[in-house]
Subunit: 336 residues, 2 copies
C-alpha cells in the first residue's frame, strides 16, 4: 500500500495542501464544510500525518523521554510503571532510553535529545557519571527535565529521591543490633550522590555504635556482574571477613547468596544481609531477605507528575525543589 | 542559551541556508573550504540540527522501536539487553514502548509508528491481542517489522521464538515422573500462539502418560496480580487440588510460593512447581525453583540482527522465516 500524502488529498479535493493541513488540525480558519470533506477523504484513504513534518509544525511531540541505567532491576521496572501511569493519564507517550551504566552513552543520548524529539526528560544518571555538563546543556536549551533516584544534588531542577542516608543508617544499626561485629557496605558507585548518602548513613551508624570505619569494608560495584561476584567472594573468603553485609544494589544480594552457598557460610548464622531491593521474591528466598524497599512506583509517579504539570502549562518553570519519599526496612530471616 | 538555527549560521557566513545544510551533510556539491568554515562556526555555536527537519530530509531516523508488554519481567529485561547489544553495534537507537498487556495501547502505538518516527519495529504482542490488522497495516505501509517471543504465526514477517510446545511437554513429563498425579497449567493468555503451543505440549505429555486432561486445570492469567493470586489460592484450596503446577509466567511462581506458604502446603512434598522464568534468584528461592529458562538475550539479539540487516540494505526485504532458539529445563528442589 502506497503512503497517502497531504498533496494527494489536496489534489483530489482541488484545495491547497496548507488548507488540508489546517483542516486536519481543526483550525478556525477553515469552514466546517471543508473540514468535514477533508476528514472524510483522509479517513477513507487512511492518511497518517508525517511525524517529522507534524513535529516541525507544532513544535511539540507529546512525548517524554525516560533515561535510566537499566530495566533488569525491579526498582527501575517499577519506577517505569509509575511514570507510565501518570503519562498515560496526561496524554504523553513515554520513550525509554537505556544507558547501561555508560557515561558516554548517557552523554550521547542527552545530546540527541536536544534536537526536539521529546518535550521533556526524566533522568536517573549512571554510576559512572562524573560531571553534569551534558545535563546543564540540555537544561540551558530550555528542555524541561526532572531527575529521580540518582540525581545531581547541585542541578537546578526538580529532584525526586528517597531517604538514602537514613535508610542505610537504619540498615546498619539493625545489623549491629543483631550482633554483627563487622559490617561491610556494597556500594553502587564512587560518584553518585545517592551512594555518598548511603555511605554517610553507614558511617554514622558505625560511629554511634562505637564501631571503627574501615575503608576496605566499602566495595564499589562494577558494571560487570562477574567482577562483583569476584569482589564479594574475596571479601567473604578472608579470615577476618565481615559478619554483616549491606547490599545497596539488588543484584548484589543474589551474588552474596551464591557466594555464601559456595563457601558454606550459613545466612544468617555466619553472615547477615540487608539489601536495597524491590524484588517481589525477597520474602521467598532461602532465607527470606531483609530489604530496604524504595518507593519506586511512587517516585516514578512523582517525577512524571512534576514534568507533565510543566509541559501542560508552557509558562510554568520547573522549580528546583527536592521531594523525598521514604523507604521502608522489611526485616526478614537473612538478619536472623 | 538560545538555540542556534541554520539561518543564523548562514547569515553569519553570508551563505544560503541550503549551502550550510549541505555542508553539514558533507555533500560533494560544497567545497572543502566552505565545509571547514561551516563546521567550525557550527561547532563554536554548538549547533544541533533540528530532529524533525533532519528526519524529513533524510527519511531515516536510525531508530528502532521495541514494543513489548512490560519490563518488570526478567525475560523482557534480558531480551532488551540482547536487542541493545546488536543495535548499538549497528548504530541504531532503541526506543522502548510498553503496552502493559493492553491491546488498545498496542494498536495506538503501532498506529503512531506509521508516521515515520522509527525505521523499524521489534514486536512482542500483548496477552489480549485478538487480531492482527494493526500489525498488517504497519507492514503494508512498508515498515520493516520482526516479531519475537509472542508472535502471530500467520504474519508474513520474520519471527524469533523458542520451542514452547516442547518446553512445556518436557516440564509436564518431568512433573509426572516426579510422582505428580494432577498437573495444573497457569497460562499467559487464551489468545497467544505461544500459550496455545505451551498448552499443546502440556496436553501431549498428559496423554502420553495416560493422565486425563481437565479444562479446569488450565487457568488463564489476568493482567491484575491480585486476580491471579486469587485464582491460584482457589485452585490450591480445593480438596482435589493439583500436586503439580506449571507456571508459564514468571510472576505466577512468586504467587504460588506465597499461596503455598499461607496454606501451609510444603513445596515440593505437597505441591511441585516448574516455572517459565529467567529470574537470577531462582536458585536461591526456598526451595530453589525448577525453571524453563528461555534464551531471552539471544532471542533479543536475533530479532535485532534480523531487523538491522534489512535496515542497512534498503533493497532487502524481511523474509517470513521463523527462527527457533531452544529453552532449557533447570531441575531444582521445587520438583523434589
Amino acid at each position: 500500500m502506497e503512503k497517502v500524502t497531504l498533496k494527494q488529498i489536496a489534489k483530489r479535493l482541488n484545495l491547497s495542501a496548507s488548507t488540508i493541513s489546517r483542516a486536519l488540525q481543526d483550525s478556525h480558519q477553515i469552514s466546517p464544510q471543508t473540514k468535514q470533506k477533508v476528514l472524510e477523504l483522509a479517513t477513507e484513504l487512511n492518511f497518517v500525518p508525517n511525524y517529522h513534518a507534524s513535529g516541525l509544525r507544532k513544535k511539540v511531540s507529546k512525548t517524554i523521554a525516560v533515561v535510566i541505567p537499566e530495566v533488569a532491576d525491579s526498582y527501575f521496572a517499577q519506577a517505569i510503571n509509575g511514570i507510565e501511569a501518570v503519562a498515560q493519564e496526561q496524554g504523553f507517550h513515554v520513550l525509554i532510553y537505556l544507558t547501561h551504566e555508560s557515561f558516554l552513552k548517557e552523554q550521547a543520548i542527552l545530546r540527541e535529545l536536544q534536537n526536539g524529539r521529546v518535550d521533556g526528560v526524566l533522568l536517573a544518571i549512571t554510576a559512572e557519571t562524573s560531571h553534569n555538563r551534558h545535563i546543564r546543556e540540555l537544561l540551558n536549551r530550555g528542555m524541561p527535565l526532572v531527575m529521580f533516584d540518582r540525581v545531581c544534588e547541585d542541578m537546578e531542577t526538580a529532584k525526586i529521591i528517597t531517604n538514602d542516608l537514613e535508610s542505610s543508617y537504619l540498615a546498619t544499626r539493625h545489623l549491629i543490633s543483631c550482633g554483627c561485629k563487622r559490617v561491610a557496605l556494597l556500594s553502587a558507585s564512587n560518584s553518585l550522590a545517592m551512594s555518598a548518602n548511603r555511605l554517610a548513613g553507614y558511617k554514622k551508624a558505625l560511629q554511634e555504635q562505637g564501631h571503627p570505619f574501615r575503608p576496605t569494608d566499602v566495595i564499589a560495584c562494577s558494571k560487570a556482574e562477574d567482577v562483583n561476584y569476584f569482589f564479594i567472594k574475596t571479601l567473604l573468603s578472608n579470615a577476618h571477613r565481615p559478619d554483616g553485609i549491606i547490599a545497596t544494589v539488588e543484584k548484589q544480594a543474589t551474588s552474596v547468596y551464591q557466594v555464601c552457598q559456595e563457601l558454606n557460610l550459613n545466612i544468617p548464622q555466619k553472615v547477615k544481609i540487608v539489601a536495597f531491593s524491590n524484588l517481589q521474591s525477597a520474602a521467598f528466598l532461602n532465607p527470606s531477605l531483609t530489604t530496604v524497599m524504595q518507593p519506586a512506583f511512587d517516585m516514578g509517579k512523582a517525577a512524571a507528575a512534576n514534568l507533565c504539570k510543566v509541559l501542560k502549562r508552557k509558562n510554568l518553570n520547573i522549580l528546583p525543589e527536592t521531594q523525598v519519599l521514604p523507604s521502608v526496612l522489611h526485616i526478614r530471616n537473612s538478619t536472623g
